[in-house]
């Protein structure tokens, strides 16, 4: 039921936001039409952090309580986080090309996002290299916790690393020229994407729970020995 409501809500809100982005929101003066990708880019990175933060809490929860549901939620949140992180990187590159005339620049935020992406791809690889079980959940939780805790340190170090090489003039002016319709639009699309996140998460968690239950039933079928 909740699933359905979330699904309908995300479809309607994304359609609405799609309409508003192109027919209501003004075209930003300095960057032009390409600025509209921001309505995907910015919510994506926020939701990446949200998903990975939930995964972090669930990882702690798993090690503490050892209840499988924490593991399921952590896994699904990392998967979603990695997807949104990938969207952030791709939309970031598309945006970067007309704005800074390059697809990739070693900007602090971009670099941190890339490292974040790599850490949690590592998390998913670790899970792939292990068989399902309590140990898989435990090890993944360990990586989920240290991976998330490392993010502030990575961001700090990458920021210092860049600022000493070249002053980031482009980035400093970017943020303070945001006018009200743009901000409203951004918050609206964030809301729409949050619905989408909640919908995908609830579907994915349901699917994972069903799949595990099914696998357990198969594995524990009464067998005829010899």
């Amino acid at each position: 039921m909740l699933n359905k409501i979330l699904g309908i809500a995300s479809i309607i809100s994304i359609a609405l936001v799609g309409y508003l982005v192109f027919f209501w929101a003004p075209i930003e003066s300095s960057m032009g039409i390409v600025q509209k990708i921001m309505y995907i880019h910015v919510p994506s990175i926020w939701l990446t952090f949200l998903a990975l933060f939930i995964a972090f809490l669930c990882s702690i929860g798993y090690l503490w309580k050892r209840a499988e549901i924490y593991d399921v939620v952590a896994l699904c949140m990392v998967e979603i986080g990695v997807i949104f992180c990938g969207i952030t990187l791709i939309t970031g590159s598309i945006w970067a090309k007309p704005t800074w005339n390059t697809y990739w620049t070693w900007d602090a935020r971009l670099t941190t996002t890339l490292i974040l992406f790599l850490i949690f791809v590592g998390y998913l690889l670790l899970r792939k290299f292990m068989d399902y079980g309590e140990q898989q959940a435990r090890f993944a939780a360990v990586v989920g916790i240290i991976g998330f805790l490392d993010v502030p340190l990575i961001h700090q170090s990458v920021t210092w690393w860049r600022t000493l090489h070249q002053p980031s003039t482009v980035f400093s002016t970017k943020k303070n020229v945001i006018d009200t319709p743009l901000l409203v639009m951004l918050l609206l699309s964030l809301l729409a994407f949050s619905f989408l996140l909640a919908f995908i998460a609830s579907k994915r968690i349901e699917l994972e729970l069903k799949s595990r239950k099914f696998q357990k039933q198969i594995a524990n079928l009464p067998q005829d020995h010899h």
Partner: protein, 223 residues
């Protein structure tokens, strides 16, 4: 507690001494990496100075991985780890014993690599031997803390040789950046005072991951 850590540390050291092939393979691996860098880099002295810190720390990371891989390999043979785990000691002691073993092993390699480095690339290197050794110790603490935790985690897995660097290297980026930057400061004669912020970051990294890895190792040590 301290005596347990010491006992495990001494045992690891003794095993390393009996198995010098571990040490030699790690040392020659480092030498070969240096050689590869020497071929890959422009041959003039100026670019050697520019590339020296990066080259040095990449060598550190790659050879350090070997040290980590062997650390728990020794325990897995004959299921010694089980024997260790049913002993009435805390998992934290096992972690710290292994951690110190790894740090010492890395330091011995560094001791040999620094002179070699100055020979191959940049002769000014040797003037700062003690500063560089001190920096290596500080970096080795953070490297080994996370590394010991993660190698404990990957020892039993398929493709562990590839999985360990995949998990470890992204997490180590603050440490790598800080070490490179502090080393640049040392090489231009500023010592540690030139890059105090980076030093603080590096020490902070060490402390955070030393404590977290120590606390979380309990969960890695279960079977």
């Amino acid at each position: 507690m301290l005596s347990e850590i010491w006992t495990i540390f001494i045992k690891d050291l003794r095993l390393d001494l009996r198995r010098m092939e571990n040490f030699f393979s790690m040392f020659f691996f480092s030498v070969i990496i240096l050689l590869v860098f020497a071929f890959a880099m422009p041959a003039d002295k100026d670019s050697h100075i520019i590339f020296a810190p990066g080259t040095f720390w990449v060598t550190f990371l790659l050879s350090g991985i070997l040290s980590l891989n062997k650390s728990f390999q020794l325990e897995k043979e004959n299921a010694c780890m089980e024997s260790l785990l049913i002993s009435p000691i805390s998992r934290g002691s096992i972690f710290l014993g292994k951690l110190f073993g790894n740090i010492i092993f890395i330091m011995i390699i560094q001791c040999l690599i620094i002179p070699l480095f100055s020979l191959f690339f940049y002769s000014g290197f040797l003037d700062h031997f003690f500063s560089l050794m001190l920096l290596s110790v500080i970096s080795a603490v953070g490297f080994s803390s996370l590394g010991t935790l993660l190698s404990g985690l990957t020892t039993d897995l398929r493709f562990k040789e590839i999985l360990l660097p995949i998990l470890l290297f992204p997490l180590l980026i603050p440490l790598l950046l800080a070490s490179v930057r502090i080393m640049q400061g040392i090489l231009i004669g500023e010592g540690f005072s030139g890059e105090l912020d980076w030093l603080k970051l590096l020490i902070g990294f060490d402390l955070i991951f030393l404590i977290i890895s120590y606390l979380i190792f309990d969960f890695v040590a279960e079977m």
